[in-house]
Symmetry: C2
Subunit: 349 residues, 2 copies
DNA sequence: TTTAGCACTCTGATTATGAGAGTGCTAATT
DNA sequence: AATTAGCACTCTCATAATCAGAGTGCTAAA
């Protein structure tokens, strides 16, 4: 979108309409603009400009004699070139205090990532009044640290997987009952010495390769070890963290039930959300998807703001806010940005 | 509620009204009753009876010239003495097939209780169209099996707690960095030999007592062990399992948003739900709470059907359905009953 | 005790009406 | 050429009026 496709005043008008509509979801009329955003011209002029903006697809009219409301394209232009980006930063300045406080809070609970992650989405949703989402690190990002295998009830074995990031997974596996605890300890030792420090996903590849290449070389124990390890690291339906559906119902955008259902449906399909958001984990900084820019059907009436969180330079996962297209983008963006930074900082230390 | 406070025909009329209203939430008129539930008398007679039933508090009128709808008291009488209890059992017969299938399904996933529990609430909510809830076993019900302590990153220790029921908890603790893995192993050995087989809650009591009574006797290691163990078994904000909020929105009872908000608020307060339902874990069989019989404010417009699940004879937790007071009690009761039996059966084996 | 009959009441859908808000166009102004 | 005042026009929304329909409660007869 070229910056100069609109003259200054058109931009001001567009800004005024969008800002006002974000503020309260009612069609914005020309007279209203002249009153609240004095641009030194009459309502008739504004009317002409608004008509042009409508022709260009930035605004639309609910009906002939109503004011204008922003279109997706309008919001997009707003986010890309109209929004006061200084205020985003300034917003960060202002929330430096928040960042400090929140980081300290996270420090205190980072030993249990589940607790920390749900704290993150809670804070996010409470502060923004939108739905907060966090995607935990996916297997392809996680570094294996060690595994422990513990005999348990008959032929069961509990496998406990520790990772560098502090993630702990446990899993109950079935093994040949003839395996003793000693056997299991040996298997674990082997796995720990071989694979510690590797990415989980890579390990899976390596394991499969080993089984193939050297089938005959490895004795039964090791072959079993590999199977066990594979099971233990296999995708464990990791939940995503979601919070704020309740509070979002207060927004006028969701005053009719079908909108709520739409949103619920969208976040119910955790797999789709995960797939969508995971793509942003490698992105640099905050990303915004507005309305039908969104590939997921149920999200076409909603907007998403995402930011990755990292451990050092390595991207780990994504946090996001989902709200109506009539979202306070400035607020949402600076919030997601700030929280992502807090999480990254906590991971670093 | 005395059985004979209503004559046979009054019961039939009450039954007809409630059944019809459960079937579709519209006030039931006298003529409608004569048509759909032929009782061998005219609509005028029905009118008189309905008027009496209203005086007795079983029915009420939304407005002067509308039909009648059941009151809480009406539903209570229905559940206690009107509902075709044979059909509850027959329902179980019919669902014997379901019980078999579902139990088999649970068998397959019982190694991971989290998976199993969420499968239970999912099935429950999908089949009933109400909100399914499961309270996992609380600390006072859980038998300690063993603990493992693993050094981890600096002064952290991962404590892994295994229980007889197959519950695995892990928890990251801070310890004096001078403790070696050997120390930790010794601590774990000590705890395992001392406490295996006891109830978690009792252990906590025993630990506190030991610290008090014999403070001087125990060396630093053991004192630390006790602390560790206490932390490890301490209440871990165990989530309750909830499912079905989305589908419940299809019910006409929740067509207006404030009802949805009410329900959301109720199930958001997991602590209240847990406290409420946990009281039913020792109850025998299915319990029903209708509307304002409910102690929780946000549930006064809703009904709950609960049943405990057990391991052998020992009650473990509760499963429940939450729905509108206009609930299909017959269906809900037989469903909760059947599912609770499936879970209990799975625990037994 | 039951019932037919009827007057009465309340709802909800439909229609009419008018104020209000806002537009688009035209002609005058800068 | 750009801006603006003025005005006719359009559409919505709230209010009120009307009326059919459903259901009741009561009375008098069976």
């Amino acid at each position: 979108m070229a910056f100069d496709m609109l003259d200054k005043r058109s931009k001001q008008v567009l800004y005024a309409v969008i800002q006002s509509y974000i503020n309260s979801p009612e069609p914005v009329g020309s007279r209203f603009v002249t009153k609240k955003y004095p641009l030194g011209c009459s309502s008739a002029t504004i009317r002409n400009i608004m008509s042009d903006l409508e022709d260009m697809g930035f605004l639309s009219q609910p009906h002939t004699s109503a004011g204008r409301i922003p279109t997706g394209k309008g919001y997009r232009f707003f986010v890309d070139s109209l929004m006061d980006t200084e205020k985003v930063n300034e917003g960060s300045e202002m929330s430096r205090e928040f960042v400090g406080q929140f980081t300290r809070k996270l420090e205190g609970i980072k030993t249990d990532l589940n607790v920390m992650f749900s704290e993150v989405t809670n804070t996010l949703s409470i502060m923004s009044n939108y739905v907060g989402i966090l995607i935990p690190p996916q297997p392809e990002k996680i570094t294996f640290k060690r595994i422990d295998l513990i005999r348990y009830k008959g032929s069961n074995v509990v496998a406990i997987l520790l990772t560098d990031e502090g993630i702990i997974k446990n899993r109950v596996l079935q093994v040949d009952p003839r395996f003793t605890q000693d056997d299991l300890t040996r298997i674990a030792d082997y796995l720990n010495s071989e694979f510690s420090g590797f990415i989980l996903d890579d390990i899976r590849g390596m394991l499969i390769k080993r089984v193939k290449d050297e089938k005959t070389l490895w004795d039964k124990l090791i072959s079993k070890a590999i199977q066990i390890c594979e099971q233990a690291i296999s995708y464990s339906e990791d939940d995503i963290f979601v919070s704020g559906l309740y509070d979002v119902m207060d927004l006028p955008d969701f005053s009719n039930i079908s909108r709520i259902k739409e949103l619920s449906r969208a976040i119910k399909d955790k797999h789709a959300i995960l797939k969508l958001l995971d793509e942003f984990s490698d992105a640099e900084g905050v990303q915004v998807m507005i309305g039908d820019e969104n590939p997921v059907e149920d999200l076409k009436n909603l907007s998403i703001v995402t930011a990755p969180y990292k451990e050092g330079a390595r991207p780990m996962g994504v946090i996001a806010l989902i709200g109506p297209t009539r979202m306070d983008y400035l607020k949402a963006i600076s919030m997601v940005d700030a929280v992502a930074k807090c999480v990254s900082k906590t991971f670093r230390d």
